[in-house]
């Protein structure tokens, strides 16, 4: 055994064989699992689209009727003099006509990045839904932006005028109630929505959405 331990050839073979075994196990797992992981990533966004575009009732009706939405996606980059922002834009098509859009936007919240999915109607003039993909706001306070009570205020708001959070009861049509104790988180969500809606609407007015039709 001592002989074996001191034998460099044995050591070299050991490392080589281990590397081969481990390498092949990793490769096979990768082959088997990476399609599943890719689907998980895509579904995370895709399965929210019907709800965001058609509303909860509309999506339920669609599911019952057995029909499905065609979704095309594109990366839209807005370039200004000093900055560039990119958004992933999804176009939802129901029976040959555009029924709505979903924009994936992110911005700085109170603690860390906030990632949103904003549902817009087909002319991009009003909001049809809002979903929070990722947030790291204060639990119990800022984290309430993920709850339906806060998000439902955005439905049917027009995008032409910026949405403003108020602390004292929302009255005007472009106002929403901020979360008590989480003013900055509420403000961040509103600003991300406003900026994204304006940018994407202006951008796609200039350069229409191109669909790569594979015949």
């Amino acid at each position: 055994m001592e002989q074996m331990k001191n034998n460099f050839i044995v050591q070299a073979w050991l490392v080589l064989i281990l590397a081969l075994c481990f390498g092949s196990s990793i490769a096979s797992i990768n082959l088997a699992l990476s399609p599943i992981i890719k689907t998980n990533k895509i579904n995370e966004t895709m399965e929210k689209v019907p709800e965001l575009v058609l509303g909860i009732n509309g999506a339920a009706k669609l599911a019952i009727s057995g029909k499905k939405l065609d979704i095309n996606s594109q990366m839209v980059t807005i370039e200004r003099k000093n900055s560039r922002i990119s958004y992933k834009v999804f176009q939802a098509i129901n029976e040959e006509e555009v029924s709505g859009w979903v924009v994936k936007a992110s911005g700085q919240g109170y603690a860390d990045k906030i990632e949103l999915l904003i549902g817009l109607d087909k002319t991009m003039e009003s909001i049809t839904g809002l979903f929070v993909l990722e947030q790291k706001e204060t639990p119990g306070l800022g984290s309430k932006i993920s709850q339906w009570d806060f998000r439902k205020q955005f439905v049917s708001k027009k995008t032409k005028s910026p949405i403003i959070p108020t602390k004292t009861g929302a009255s005007a049509s472009n106002e929403i109630d901020a979360i008590t104790g989480a003013t900055i988180s509420s403000r961040s969500v509103c600003s991300i929505v406003n900026v994204a809606a304006k940018n994407v609407r202006t951008a796609l007015a200039k350069t229409p959405f191109k669909i790569n039709q594979e015949k």
């Binding site: 055994m1 074996m4 331990k5 001191n6 044995v10 050591q11 050991l14 490392v15 281990l18 590397a19 481990f22 196990s25 990793i26 797992i29 990768n30 699992l33 990476s34 599943i36 992981i37 998980n40 990533k41 995370e44 204060t138 639990p139 119990g140 306070l141």
Partner: protein
């Protein structure tokens, strides 16, 4: 040297007497990071169990061929491979959990518990002993994580495994769900465990 611990001894030692977190103070990074709710804690414990078991078994199988200088490289390679497997598995079948655990699954590679067990037990004893050592230590680890996560989740959000257990009138101690709460809870529980251990040691001295 006196007789090496038997498999059963290794198993029992790992759960409380030589608990990796409370007694050996190893693997503290995941202990503090993923214990803000029970689900993440149990998932992390499961992942560490798998990696520790596989690493111990492989190390024990090749223990006679390891030259002292090369063993760290071999341990690292083995552990990194199994962690990659666990990470991909979680991403495929428990995607939301994988996202919330984030970078802490790959950090199992540098988790001192696994390297310490490979070094202390697996590289010196046979496969069955190594396996029971792995299972014992993992159960100890799971116990430690669960104790901290239980306290943090119940006090911090009033929930246990996502189900509300405290009345709605409970003002959530949000600090418990945040980083300071992790340190405080673990420090206090560690003090309690040290106290119990010292009382037990005293009793043994009085008896013997």
């Amino acid at each position: 040297m006196a007789h090496d611990p038997t498999p059963f001894e290794r198993f029992i030692q790992g759960i409380i007497p030589e608990n990796p977190v409370y007694r050996q103070l190893l693997g503290l990074c995941p202990t503090l990071a993923v214990t803000n709710n029970m689900q993440s804690a149990i998932t992390m414990a499961g992942a560490v169990t798998f990696v520790l078991l596989c690493a111990n078994i492989i190390t024990s199988l090749i223990r006679n061929l390891l030259k002292p200088h090369l063993r760290i490289v071999i341990f690292t390679l083995t552990i990194a491979t199994f962690v990659t497997l666990v990470d991909r598995f979680l991403a495929a079948y428990m995607y939301t959990m994988s996202k919330s655990l984030g970078p802490y699954i790959p950090l199992i590679i540098v988790n001192c518990i696994i390297i310490a067990r490979c070094e202390v037990c697996a590289s010196k004893q046979d496969v069955f002993t190594a396996a029971s050592d792995a299972i014992g230590q993992s159960m100890g680890f799971a116990l430690a994580l669960a104790s901290i996560a239980g306290v943090r989740e119940i006090l911090g959000t009033g929930m246990f495994f996502g189900i509300r257990v405290l009345p709605a009138a409970w003002p959530d101690w949000v600090i418990m769900a945040l980083p300071p709460g992790a340190f405080l809870t673990f420090g206090l529980l560690l003090g309690v465990v040290n106290f119990i251990e010292s009382k037990r040691a005293e009793k043994k001295i009085h008896k013997g």
